[in-house]
C-alpha cells in the first residue's frame, strides 16, 4: 500500500508534514535532514525541488531555492541522493516543486525514478487540474504516485468538489490568500474558512499549510483538518542551525516543540 494512504488510514489527526528544500543548507544535507525528521517524529516529509522562479513562495523559500541551486542541486542530483533512502526511511516522502524542471527531466522518466527510489506522492503547484487529468494522471497512476492539489479560501465549492474527485492522497489547504511564509497566527476569518471546508465532508483527508510555524498554529490548524504542514519556519530553523554547525539537534528540538 502507498505510504500516504497507509498513514491516513492509521492516523486521523495531528499529522505533521515538514517541507524543506533539497540541497539546503548544503548540497549533501538532503538525506541527513530527512533521517532527522523521521527520528524526531514527523509524519510526512515534503522534499522541495528547487526552482529559479518559485511564484507561489515567499522570501524564505525563494532564498533556500537559490542557495540549493547554487549548491548544485538538480533532479538528477536529488535522485542520486535518494537512491537508497528506503534503507533508512519509512515515512511517506513527497516531492514538491514546479513543473518546468519535471518537464525538462522528462515526465515519464521522472515518475519512473520516483517509484524506483520510493517517493510516494507529488505536489506541483503550477500543474493545473485540467492539464493533470489530460496529460499526467495516467503516468502518475502507473507509477503509484499520489498527486496533491491545493485549495485556497477563494476556491469555489464546485471547484473544491471537482478537486476532491480528482485527488488521491490528501488535499493541501492553503490557509489564507498568500504565498508561503507570509504571516503567522490564525485569524477568526481563517477559522471560518477551515470550518466551511470541514463541513463539506470531502472524501480526501486535508492538511493545512502556509502560515503554520509553531506549536500554537499547528495544533489550532489540526483541530480543523487531519494535520498541518510547516515549511518556511522549518527552513529558518535549518538556516539558524547551520550557523552553529549541527542540524540534527535543532531539528529534534523543533519537532518536539511543535508536537509537545
Amino acid at each position: 500500500m502507498n505510504r500516504i494512504d497507509q498513514l491516513f488510514k492509521n492516523k486521523k489527526k495531528d499529522i505533521l508534514s515538514i517541507y524543506f528544500t533539497a540541497g539546503f543548507p548544503h548540497l549533501e544535507d538532503t538525506l541527513p535532514v530527512m533521517k532527522a525528521l523521521e527520528s524526531a517524529g514527523a509524519d510526512i516529509i515534503e522534499v522541495g525541488v528547487p526552482y529559479s522562479d518559485p511564484i507561489a513562495d515567499g522570501p524564505t523559500i525563494q532564498d533556500s531555492n537559490m542557495v540549493a541551486l547554487s549548491n548544485g542541486m538538480s533532479l538528477h542530483k536529488l535522485f542520486e541522493q535518494l537512491a537508497n533512502m528506503r534503507e533508512h526511511l519509512s515515512l511517506p516522502v513527497i516531492l514538491m516543486g514546479y513543473l518546468n524542471p519535471v518537464v525538462q527531466y522528462g515526465v515519464e522518466k521522472f515518475c519512473q525514478k520516483c517509484k524506483e527510489v520510493g517517493v510516494d506522492g507529488l505536489i506541483i503547484p503550477d500543474l493545473p487540474m485540467k492539464q493533470y487529468i489530460y496529460e499526467y494522471k495516467e503516468l502518475f497512476d502507473e507509477y503509484g504516485l499520489r498527486n496533491t492539489f491545493l485549495i485556497s479560501p477563494q476556491t469555489s465549492e464546485a471547484r473544491i468538489r471537482e478537486i476532491d474527485q480528482h485527488s488521491d492522497g490528501f488535499i493541501y489547504m492553503v490557509s489564507s490568500a498568500s504565498i508561503t511564509g507570509a504571516k503567522s497566527g490564525i485569524s477568526q476569518e481563517q477559522v471560518t474558512y477551515f470550518e466551511r471546508i470541514q463541513r463539506m465532508e470531502l472524501s480526501n483527508p486535508r492538511l493545512i499549510g502556509f502560515g503554520i510555524s509553531d506549536h500554537e498554529t499547528f495544533s489550532k490548524a489540526s483541530q480543523y483538518a487531519h494535520g498541518a504542514i510547516i515549511g518556511s519556519a522549518f527552513i529558518n530553523i535549518l538556516k539558524k542551525a547551520n550557523e552553529k554547525g549541527d542540524l540534527s539537534p535543532a531539528i529534534h528540538s523543533f519537532i518536539q516543540k511543535v508536537k509537545q
Partner: protein, 392 residues
C-alpha cells in the same frame, strides 16, 4: 491560422499553468473578458480614450531617406507618438476599463524598461485607481527617469530583489502579490505573456496597430497589405499588435526581431527562439531560455524591454509553424541603427525599436517592397544609454 483554442493554446504553446490560488482570478477574467470587451459600451469608451487620450490613430510615415538607403518603400508605424511614448498604453487603457467593469479597486503591474509601468501608472491616475508597480532593482537603476515618472503619477514602485532583479523577477513578484490580494486587485500584464487569457487579451488590445496600418496603407499604397511587417520582440506585445490582422494573409511576411545581446552564442543574449526550448514560465508553455535542468537562464540585452528569457506563446507558435521569420540583432548593431534613424529621419527610437531597424541589414527583400516597421517607442528614456555608448 493563428488563433487561440478554448484552452488558451496557440498550437503547442500557451495554456494557464498557474497555482490554484490564482485560479479564481484567472477564471473570472477568462469568463468575462470577451463579453466585456466586445460590448458596445466598452468599445465606445476604449475607442474614445485611444483617440482623445492616447492620440490615435498614430501616423504611418513614409521614411523617404531610409527607403532610399535600403531600396524599398519603408513606412514607420509611429507608436512612439502615443501618449507616454510607446505602444504599451493601448493595452493599459483596455485593461483599466476592464478592471473597473470587474469591480476591482487596485492595480498591480510588472515593468522592465518602465514603459509599461508608466503606461499603467498613467491610466491609474486617469481613472483614480490605486497602483503598485513591481520593477527589478537593476532596471530601477538603469531606467531611473521612468521610476520617477511613475512616482509623479502617484504610483508606488516596489523593487524586485530576487534572481536577476530584472523583468522576469518583477513578473514573479507581481504574481506573488496577486496571490496575496486575490479579490480586489487586477494585475495588468504588459506583454503577450502569462496565463491564458492574458496573451490573447493583450494582443487584442494591441491589434489596433495593424487595424490602422491596413486603412493607412490602403490610402497611401492602394492596398491593405504590405510585403513585410517588422517588429522587435521581447515578450512581444508590439509585434502581436502589428501582425494581428496579417496572421492569415500568407503573402505578408512577418519579421520578428529578437535581442542577441552580446551575440547569440556569447552567453549574454535574449534571443529566445534561437536559444530556448519549450518550457513553462509565468503561467504559459512557451519557448524559454533554460538550463538542461529546467532552471530559467538570466537573459541579457542592452534594452531592458527585450531582456526577457521567454517569448509570448503566440510568437513561439509563429516560430514553430514557420509563419514568422526570426532574426537576432546584437546590442552594438541596435545602437547603430538607433543613430541611423535619428540622422536619416530625425527620430530617436527606443533601443527596443532600434533592433527592428537593424534587421533591415539582415533580411532579404525585393526592390520596392512595401515594408512597415513598427516604431514601438521613442528614445527619450534611453538617452543615458545612448550617451554612455557614445559612438555618435
Amino acid at each position: 491560422m493563428i488563433a487561440v483554442d478554448e484552452n488558451g493554446f496557440y498550437g503547442k504553446f500557451g495554456g494557464a499553468f498557474i497555482p490554484e490560488m490564482l485560479y479564481p482570478n484567472i477564471e473570472e477574467l477568462r469568463e468575462n473578458y470577451l463579453s466585456i470587451t466586445n460590448s458596445e459600451e466598452f468599445q465606445k469608451e476604449f475607442r474614445s480614450l485611444l483617440k482623445d487620450y492616447v492620440g490615435r490613430p498614430t501616423p504611418l510615415f513614409f521614411a523617404s531617406r531610409l527607403s532610399e538607403k535600403y531600396g524599398a518603400k519603408i513606412y514607420l508605424k509611429r507608436e512612439d507618438l502615443c501618449h507616454t511614448g510607446a505602444h504599451k498604453v493601448n493595452n493599459t487603457v483596455g485593461q483599466i476599463i476592464l478592471a473597473k467593469k470587474l469591480g476591482k479597486k487596485r492595480i498591480i503591474a510588472e515593468t522592465g524598461a518602465g514603459q509599461h509601468g508608466v503606461a499603467t501608472a498613467t491610466v491609474c491616475a486617469l481613472m483614480g485607481m490605486d497602483c503598485t508597480v513591481y520593477m527589478g532593482e537593476v532596471d530601477m537603476a538603469r531606467q531611473k527617469p521612468n521610476v520617477e515618472r511613475m512616482r509623479i503619477l502617484g504610483s508606488k514602485v516596489v523593487p524586485a530583489t530576487s534572481g536577476s532583479k530584472t523583468l522576469k523577477d518583477a513578473t514573479n513578484e507581481a504574481m506573488r502579490q496577486w496571490i496575496n490580494n486575490p479579490v480586489d486587485t487586477h494585475y495588468i500584464i504588459g506583454s503577450v505573456v502569462g496565463p491564458h487569457p492574458y496573451p490573447e487579451m493583450v494582443a487584442r488590445f494591441q491589434s489596433v496597430i495593424s487595424e490602422e496600418m491596413k486603412t493607412q496603407l490602403l490610402e497611401k499604397e492602394g492596398r491593405e497589405n504590405p510585403d513585410l511587417v517588422v517588429a522587435c520582440v521581447g515578450g512581444g506585445s508590439n509585434a502581436a499588435g502589428a501582425y494581428y490582422h496579417y496572421y492569415n494573409q500568407p503573402e505578408v511576411r512577418l519579421i520578428a526581431v529578437e535581442a542577441a545581446g552580446l551575440g547569440v552564442k556569447s552567453g549574454k543574449s535574449a534571443a529566445t527562439t534561437m536559444l530556448g526550448k519549450p518550457g513553462i514560465l509565468h503561467g504559459s508553455r512557451t519557448l524559454l531560455m533554460q538550463t538542461e535542468d529546467g532552471q530559467v537562464v538570466e537573459p541579457h540585452s542592452i534594452s531592458a524591454g527585450l531582456d526577457y528569457p521567454g517569448i509570448g506563446p503566440v510568437h513561439a507558435h509563429l516560430f514553430d509553424s514557420g509563419r514568422g521569420e526570426f532574426v537576432a540583432v546584437e546590442d552594438e548593431a541596435a545602437m547603430q541603427a538607433g543613430i541611423m534613424l535619428s540622422r536619416l529621419e530625425g527620430i530617436i527610437p527606443a533601443i527596443e525599436s532600434a533592433h527592428a531597424f537593424s534587421a533591415l541589414d539582415q533580411i532579404r527583400f525585393n526592390k520596392d517592397d512595401v515594408i512597415v516597421i513598427n516604431l514601438s517607442g521613442r528614445g527619450d528614456k534611453d538617452l543615458e544609454t545612448y550617451i554612455k555608448w557614445g559612438n555618435y
